[in-house]
Symmetry: C2
């Protein structure tokens, strides 16, 4: 890389790509004053397609492989990447893009339904690397750093979202297994040397059956644990009885999406216990017609449609009979009668629990009223933190967004750390026996006596990921002058292994003057909450699952949504990626532009990512002006939010472009007003003045073009010049901006 400061901005697809046409010139203008170059790297679907077939394109048509470039860049300690949402292409999207490119004269091959020829096979192999979620795995080469940006936090403090009051007499609570769950059985080892291990199942009196082979690195942490099916069923029954007795509504909160192997099974157990009589009576029939309780009651309703009406009626009656003696169950949709047990992906713990806590600890009942509820989360490892929060809210009332501190997260994520419950190392045990992990020499590293139906899983965490995580925690603590708490439970085998490493790796850093703690989850969340209600901030330094849970829990309390969080991936190699926005690339927004030339896309995520990109660049490259720009940008974003200059949804009103103008104006004003760098302030003064003076004119020009169709000359591969014209319709604004450029 050149020694000049450089930011790589990603050219993606659809709405974010349109927004970039308007925003990037502003960013480049401002950045240039700090000697920062902003390069565009094309990782759009079209770009990725074109870069896959250079030999079929003319010299002029060829494009660089942006993703490959970025993939390499992640290994560069100077990398500074702002990553906008891109299309995770489905096959129809891929086909549409190919069609468009061919129409534009690019000689690329079709994506064959059934590739026959070598050429077709070769083409499809190249397309395979473009399909689906192809970008994140390449770019996310580090741990996770998520925080509420200052501007967003300040906005939430001034314009707080609604928070349901908590009654001290609330009956709501979290309930979890006290034994027989993953927490109780967890074993953990750290590899003294690199080596291969086998996960085996040995049925009673049988031979070892290989379930999985793993190649482990030196220093890698490997865990094994299981959940007893019997204990799980007994636990579910107990929670149902308890609800029946106490009159509190029953609800189940699992994470069947991310823990996509283990949690649907857990969900299936709940379905079978709740509707025990139904499954007792119709179990065999259900097996025949292919009912899978892991898919929820929707599976029952769907599959029984093949049965005679009288049988269907009988089964539905049996289902209704269950409701008679079971407690009330929380509803996903009380109007449509969709219960908590209908589909496993409807109630996802990391979103559903914060929602419940925000709603006075209540969920929706069958009668459409909100009610106190027992939140059942079998795995005690993480469920306990929710009970801690509930107790805290009962004691202190609902959190107050206008005064509460913030809890940013430093999450262990690199190199697929702690990918629990999902994927290739989770097994539903098929017979009574032993699950064990054996090394190449035949030594048993860990083993569990299991029974048919138990859920066993292993989990890997690589040493460099942990080491980097510790470094990131110290860095964040230092940079934000905020206490950092490692959430490590000394009663968990895995966390004990991690604690040793954390203590060791902390020695590699200057922690003088920093407040760094190691606490159990309950201690940590209590400590954080006690600080939070006093307006104090605390960094949570957590494993991967808690990263996921906490970056929903705290943001939803603090900001009303987790979508406004800054999401940073500081790469293992030293560079940084700044992700913008949550969610996709908004095709509907593009339609609106095509129809009435109004782009409702909110670039808040880009503003925030840019702020931190500049800040980090300032710190790493000792670029003082970058720091000044970053601070001013944060203030500008704050004013933008406060003054309601985010895009409207309606044509004729301020849209994405107008929002960019206000950002530019506020940003220029803030740079001009700051006193840290007087030269820079002076430099920006004329720009600030010009934008301020012409505010009304520019906004009028920006709004005037709206209301009629806009031609982008392409969808997946729009003409960038055309797009630039559409997205920069204010001559006054363009002139002022261009005039500022050196």
């Amino acid at each position: 890389m050149s020694t000049k400061s450089k930011i790589i901005y990603t050219l993606t697809d659809e709405a974010p790509a349109l927004a970039t046409a308007s925003l990037l010139p502003i960013i480049r203008t401002f950045s240039s004053t700090a000697d920062i170059e902003v390069d565009l790297s094309d990782i759009s679907l079209a770009g990725r397609i074109l870069s896959a077939f250079p030999e079929r394109l003319t010299e002029e048509q060829r494009v660089e492989d942006g993703l490959a470039f970025l993939g390499d860049l992640t290994k560069d300690p100077e990398a500074n990447i702002i990553k906008l949402p891109n299309i995770s292409a489905s096959v129809p999207q891929l086909r549409a893009a190919i069609k468009e490119l061919k129409e534009q004269g690019y000689d690329i091959p079709e994506f064959a339904e059934n590739p026959q020829t070598d050429e077709e096979k070769d083409a499809n192999a190249r397309y395979a690397k473009i399909l689906g979620s192809a970008v994140n795995p390449v770019l996310r080469q580090g741990n996770s750093d998520r925080r509420a940006p200052a501007a967003v936090k300040a906005f939430a403090r001034k314009f707080p979202h609604s928070m349901g009051k908590w009654s001290k007499a609330s009956r709501s609570h979290a309930d979890y297994m006290r034994s027989g769950d993953f927490f109780s059985s967890e074993q953990s080892i750290t590899m003294a040397d690199a080596g291969d291990v086998r996960i085996e199942f040995v049925a009673e009196g049988g031979q070892p059956e290989l379930k999985k082979e793993l190649s482990l690195d030196k220093g890698e942490v490997l865990d094994g644990m299981f959940m007893s099916a019997k204990a799980l069923d007994a636990f579910f029954e107990e929670t149902l009885q308890d609800c029946k007795e106490s009159g509190v509504m029953w609800s189940l909160h699992v994470k069947a999406t991310m823990m996509k192997v283990s949690h649907p099974i857990v969900f299936g157990h709940a379905v079978r216990v709740f509707y025990r009589e139904v499954f007792d009576k119709y179990g065999e029939l259900f097996d025949e017609i292919g009912v899978n309780p892991n898919n929820g009651m929707s599976s029952v309703y769907e599959k029984i449609k093949t049965l005679p009406q009288s049988t269907q009626d009988e089964i539905e009656e049996a289902i209704h009979a269950c409701y008679e003696h079971r407690p009330e169950m929380a509803m996903v949709d009380s109007v449509k009668g969709i219960t908590n047990l209908h589909i496993p992906s409807d109630v996802i713990v990391d979103a559903s629990m914060p929602a419940m806590i925000r709603s006075s600890g209540q969920m929706w009942g069958r009668d459409g009223k909100t009610k106190d509820t027992k939140a059942v989360m079998p795995e005690s490892t993480y469920a306990r933190i929710y009970q801690e929060v509930i107790n805290f809210c009962k004691t202190n009332g609902a959190f107050d967004p206008t005064t509460m501190g913030t809890v940013p997260n430093v999450g262990l994520m690199a190199m697929k750390a702690e990918e629990y419950g999902s994927h290739d190392k989770t097994f539903e045990v098929q017979a009574d026996g032993v699950m064990r992990v054996v090394d190449a020499a035949g030594n048993v590293l860990m083993q569990h006596n299991v029974e048919k139906g138990d859920i066993w899983r292993a989990c890997q965490t690589k040493d460099p990921a942990i080491r980097d995580w510790v470094k990131l925690a110290v860095t964040r603590s230092r940079q934000s002058n905020t206490p950092a708490v490692f959430w490590l439970d000394q009663e968990r085998a895995h966390d004990l292994e991690l604690t040793k490493k954390v203590k060791e790796y902390l020695k590699e850093h200057d922690t003088e003057g920093l407040e760094i703690h190691i606490m159990s989850y309950n201690e940590a969340i209590r400590f954080s909450m006690e600080r939070m209600i006093r307006g104090l901030d605390t960094i949570s330094v957590s494993g991967n699952v808690l990263r996921d849970y906490l970056t929903d829990l705290f943001p939803i309390m603090e900001l009303g949504t987790s979508a406004k969080m800054l999401s940073i991936v500081p790469m293992l190699a030293g560079g940084g990626m700044y992700e913008t926005g949550a969610g996709g690339s908004a095709p509907k927004h593009v339609q609106q532009v095509e129809q009435e030339n109004h782009l409702r896309w909110d670039s808040l995520g880009e503003f925030l990512a840019l702020g931190v990109s500049l800040e980090e660049l300032g710190i790493k490259q000792n670029n003082a002006r970058a720091k000044v720009l970053a601070a001013a940008l944060d203030k500008a974003t704050e004013r933008l939010l406060e003054n309601g200059k985010s895009p409207s949804r309606k044509a004729g009103e301020l849209d994405n472009r107008g929002s960019h103008f206000y950002l530019a104006m506020y940003w220029a004003q803030e740079v001009a007003a700051q006193t840290e760098d007087a030269d820079l302030a002076a430099e920006f003064k004329p720009l600030a003045d010009a934008l301020t003076e012409n505010e009304q004119k520019i906004v009028e020009e920006l709004n005037a073009v709206q209301g009629k169709p806009a031609e982008l000359d392409g969808y997946y591969h729009a003409n960038l010049d055309v797009v630039a014209k559409v997205m920069r319709p204010s001559a006054t604004f363009n002139q002022i901006l261009d005039g500022f450029c050196k």
Copy 2:
């Protein structure tokens, strides 16, 4: 003092004195093997009377002034005193004792109703020092060390008391002021030098009015704080509204007995708010007839009796009308209709809250059923710990006496430390103005803007008391190998002053290898409870009020009662006093002896005190045999409890004497069985054998004398030889015991 190990056993009155006649010979016999002398010091009422008039008695009749002797002894670092309950004489008791002594030929003066002559005045002045609670103030020259003895703890583990189950859906909770209470306004200073200060009230536009002068020592901590009457009333109203809305029962928990100035006022506020309409309408009338709401509704019912029946009926109707719109109130006696607001001393927080927590978080309702309740405790300083316990029980269920650890207490008590809320430094403010503390030079040390009705109080804590408290905490932590937690809230002004001293004084001790923490009350109780449910012990090192609260709270959970706790006062000078039993000297037990020669007095307190007396002596004087005897005694006490060898209440069954025999037998067996001191074991073998062989015979002899009257030859001043004969009726037991004596 001689260098020989010596224990001073107190001769007191009534039942404990009778028990001593049987127990002391056993104690002396066993102690002699460790070269320990057990002296008897007479602090009985009769002894104190006789020692007050030496000039009127013959040489033979004269008795040593036991209390004066012990008072001196408290200054001796070698002091080792076992203090049994004694009579706190009322005037009638004093008269009866004088009468008895005169009849026995002692020429002592009468206690004159209206002393006229110099002689009468002189006599009454001497008697004044004997009346009332005259012993404890002389002897309690130190901080407090209270613990559950090992034997008692073991018994509770094997034979647990009942514990009400906790529902996770319980609505019970503690409620306390969030502002305007003592906690919020507390100010605290440490005196740089000794000096006099004045507590003054300055009414708006008025002159300073002296409320109290204090002479403070160098290093003494002085606090000032107040509770806002307006905030208190608003808080009460809010709790009532909240209960009305949520349907949870309302209850008030104060400490009107110990905090005898401030808490009756707080109670009075609750009465006036709950029955607002009654006091609004009849307030003036109530003033006329002398109703004092600080004495509860009983005062209303009592005083209105002087009014015409029709007015009485009207008032009672108005009272009943209040119940219509107020929430249900917890009852002291639902049958008799005695509510929580009837008398301020009925519900005492340190006893009532543990009782509620032991009873599933419930109290009695008007209909005689137990119900979830809001426990209102205005002062947040201490109330918060109960909410923490309640949350803990909701989360983890009721405590389990069979597995739970213990939380002994080291309490700051010496030199009247932290005597909050009572006595001479608490004032109900009579007008709007300023309460302030001013030093001799006129500097204002602290001040509060107060309003009419506010409750202002000051509190003193002397430096040597704090220093000794720290030492005691370290000593106890070392001796019991148990973590010690100083309960000091860094958000409290007083505790901040104490924390500085604690940190300073901790340096004076070897704390190597000890786990010593400083935690806020909530952290401390949570930490202790988390350890407790894992079977681990934690010493609470607390101020005086928490000492009082915690030595009820934890014992009631652990042992079912606080009466079985060891209560030790390690004197500031270095000696130790071991108090036995809670409660008085049981005159009814003496009556039973006189009528049917059965003493139901339980000497468990003496056994426990003796155990620790021996243990401490062993440690301090490096007397290994004393340690062995102590350990064996603990085991013996444990077996005695387990085998049900405590006194029965019925004549003809095992009584106090039989219980002593079993203690002796078990104790001898345990010494004979221990392997630490083989010589001592060998020495005790014959005694153990003889007692074991003759068990049946001895018990028969002890029980045979029962059922007919016993003559003690005196009540306040019984003939000790006669008493000895009555209390040692087994020739076999006496012979074996006497034969063992060297």
